[in-house]
Subunit: 219 residues, 2 copies
């Protein structure tokens, strides 16, 4: 016979499963406590015994999405073993294209990752922030080959900046309203942009770590 | 004594003004028909005599935001009259930084531009799409200097892609949860990314117009 801790854990999983179904099929706005409780076979009040607030439940689903994305990106790196700037550029392009494929294939739950804001200005929990960082870190290995002279901090920040640039092209590209392109053209645009950044990498050397300055005088 | 057309137009403006105040102070989610009607001195039903749906009213506010942004970007180009690739790269960096400044200074209404989705899968009206295109077109002039060999279609699409990349760095950079950086560091990251793209521009030559292919065999 299951003890109370088991029952609690089973209910917790049922709630996350139900929230995941709703978020991945209908998006964040469709998530309602009443429907969740019905799907998981508990009362609305019980949800708040298991999760401190709905944000926590949403982050548990976000964490699953991040894990899926992490797996999709981890699969694409370094078909070759070459340790050259070209191999690094190829890896960055592969990562960017894998990000686009993931977003296109899971667009509803992927959007929910970015639409969600914590209520009442609560901070994101540390475990979730760490999971995000692990995702960005996938771009750090090719950056180490591409710009070996950057220090660890600068490389970490640059990885996030490149992720953001790729995210922007993917996000606005998949919003038909802004940039209406067939997926194959979007792939070309994204790959060319990442290749240009890699080819122009000398310009990225001026990036310092957090709090640093690039007091380079230009022209 | 004002005639009916004048009264209608005055009410229309009061409604847009009221919606603009709400959206720029509290964001899209705070917009409620009842509060709008109260602020404009009309009934809720009257709103739907003036605007076909709330989306139309939201787009009128979006149009004002786009016009502000357009003005902010138009002010920064071509301090110099040099017609060189370096001058073009400088202009692209200036545009990107002006976009960042605008977003940071008007973050609530700027976010609303991207959060808004038309309900019931209505298409965006053509006048709004044209206004967006005019905004992207600001990047086309420097691109003409940077990559004179691109045809008009390819340049137009590339301008939107670069806008998207810049938007991504700005949007995730201003979301503290993802990339928590002081604004000065975010400026450096953004400028370095745009300079890298400009320096690696040879990679962008492979971009074709809509429906085109870049069947370039790489390595």
């Amino acid at each position: 016979m299951p003890n109370q801790a088991d029952r609690y854990e089973a209910l917790r999983l049922r709630l996350i499963d139900a929230a995941e179904r709703t978020i991945s099929e209908s998006g964040l706005a469709a998530l309602k406590a009443r429907a969740l409780a019905r799907a998981a076979g508990c009362s609305v009040g019980t949800i708040y015994n298991v999760f401190e607030h709905l944000d926590e439940l949403i982050l548990c689903v976000g964490s699953r999405t991040l894990a899926m994305l992490d797996g999709a990106l981890a699969g694409v790196q370094s078909a070759s073993r070459r340790r050259s700037a070209e191999a690094a550029a190829d890896d960055l392009v592969r990562l960017a294209l894998a990000y686009l494929e993931f977003a296109a294939a899971h667009i509803v739950r992927w959007r929910a990752l970015f639409e969600h804001r914590m209520s009442e200005a609560r901070p994101l929990p540390e475990w979730y922030v760490q999971q995000q960082h692990a995702l960005f870190a996938q771009a750090e290995r090719p950056l180490l080959l591409l710009l070996p002279e950057l220090d660890t901090d600068a490389r970490r920040i640059l990885a996030r900046t490149l992720f953001s640039a790729v995210h922007g092209v993917v996000a606005l590209g998949l919003e038909e309203k802004l940039v209406s392109l067939p997926l194959s053209d979007l792939r070309n645009q994204l790959a060319a942009t990442v290749r240009a950044i890699a080819a122009g990498r000398a310009e990225l050397r001026s990036i310092d770590g957090v709090g640093g300055r690039t007091d380079r005088q230009r022209r």
